[in-house]
Symmetry: C2
Subunit: 315 residues, 2 copies
């Protein structure tokens, strides 16, 4: 997959060359993940066909594979190999995808469009959409545990990772965040509540992606802590930028209706602190992320570029 | 927890003494499971309160704990200790409970009553019911993996068990069965399709309960095969008896409306092969289950009693 060397660390905006390098890096990693997901997931020739069609429909709907990329980048930073964390990387993407399918349901956010395509329940009906989400979540843990069949991973480390991902996706992570989000719709939400939603609904699994890649690569405690801090910063950054894009983004780039959060009176970072402060906080978070991994060697360059790119992404 | 000795092996109906012994056995095991579930699950003092309330509401709604009991009984038959398979036993019950919550949703079976109590979505709303199911499924895998923290379990065996449970609850198990069931409503269903539904929707997780307990107790291959066969027989038995009870059961004992499958034109064993043949098949399955573990010593007596009891249960 080739190693990368990037020049600047402290500048925020990516120059043309850096953009090209990052694009090449992300494209190559995305392909590795897409190929692996295609291998791990049963084909649509399986019975009963519709559940495999529904799972694959959402899994291959144009996701950016952020979580798998972070997991693999964290592993490489610690001297691990991409191949050894591939099941874990795919499991993270499957858990993310299941959460999107369930979030889009009429009983939740009631979204009919995601990444420019009709959502699962629109195409397959609500019952199958619920089941497709359930199946992706269940199969994620199966694939995660199958990583133990490879010889390079310590089985006790893998069991720790399964627990971490279970916590990050569960009551005290993603589902906790989604619960508060669901119960906050149509209400006035304060800054602390919004922060809870962001850190749990999106942040927890992004942080767990970094930690999983590091733990499976045998990272020392100090390195693990640094990567955890990086994960916390970019997890929050990712969600704030999402909120900003929802206010001002271009619908044709975002693939969903912009302004939908405002219309639904849903709390967002810009709606509570204002657009200017939201942008300022995003810039601070990039610096915090970079600072966490400041002492790392060149293998951390992709993580640096990703953090810098996140603040300027358009979709 | 005390060991049990039972007298008769070949008679089908339980005599009074056997009934009392089985009741004592099941009650004591149920208590062990209930206490452990209470410990493993976060309290309702946690934030956000409603998701813990919803999870606990369904988890402590009077379930019989069949899967945990089978997991523990399989372990004991192989010389394992109940304590060592307790996280696994609880995880199985949590997965079963999540499947009931999602099955009851309006988009699925649309049931408003289960075990005499309003279903989750009736009490908490559809959104929280979906999330409570998701949380129980996710936390089941976390608790399962936490079993590795104990010293008595081989981590590679535990990773195998996580994969087995993932398969049994996933695309090719419970969710496959539920998908076919959902797509069959209102249609004429043939015997083969009904058999697929039964073996996957209920059978797969019951078989996995037996296998998990055995694998975690270091069972030899021959013993594991015998317990797998037992699990297959009683898995199907359990569902056929459920179908029979749905036709002729007493609503006050069943805790839900009987005849509901008929009213919904849902395929059941009696509706396809007739009530008499359904009863005959149930009796055969008891014999098959007993025959699978015929060579086992007295530690298998609870499994024998359970199989014999299953055919005569009233709820």
């Amino acid at each position: 997959m080739g190693s990368l060397r990037f020049l600047s660390r402290m500048r925020m905006d990516l120059n043309k060359k850096e953009k090209a390098q990052l694009k090449e890096y992300l494209d190559s990693r995305k392909k590795v993940v897409d190929d692996a997901l295609d291998r791990y997931l049963p084909s649509t020739d399986s019975y009963p066909k519709v559940i495999f069609e529904a799972a694959r429909y959402s899994l291959f709907a144009g996701g950016k594979r952020i979580r798998p990329v972070l997991c693999m980048a964290a592993a490489e930073t610690c001297g691990g190999r991409v191949e050894d964390v591939l099941p874990c990387a795919c499991a993270l993407e499957m858990i993310h995808t299941y959460s999107l399918i369930h979030d889009d349901l009429p009983a939740m956010d009631d979204d009919v469009l995601r990444r420019g395509k009709p959502t699962s329940h629109v195409v397959f009906g609500e019952g199958i959409a619920v089941l497709a989400g359930d199946a992706l979540l269940t199969d994620a843990f199966r694939i995660l545990a199958s990583e133990g069949d490879a010889s390079n991973v310590n089985p006790r480390d893998l069991l720790s990772v399964i627990q971490e991902i279970g916590i990050a996706a569960g009551f005290f992570g993603m589902i906790g965040g989604q619960t508060v989000d669901l119960n906050s719709e149509g209400k006035d939400v304060d800054y602390e509540t919004l922060r809870y939603i962001h850190m749990h609904k999106t942040g927890a699994l992004i942080k767990a992606s970094m930690r999983s890649g590091a733990i499976l690569s045998g990272a020392a405690q100090k390195k693990l802590s640094a990567l955890t801090a990086y994960g916390e910063s970019i997890g929050l950054l990712f969600q704030i930028v999402d909120d900003i894009l929802n206010v001002e983004g271009d619908a044709s780039i975002m693939g969903k209706e912009t302004g939908s959060d405002t219309a639904r009176k849903k709390a967002t970072y810009p709606s509570i602190v204002g657009l200017e402060l939201a942008r300022k906080r995003a810039a601070e978070l990039v610096k915090e992320a970079l600072s966490s991994i400041d002492s790392f060697d060149d293998r951390a360059e992709p993580l640096r570029l990703i953090a810098r790119y996140m603040a300027e992404r358009k979709s």
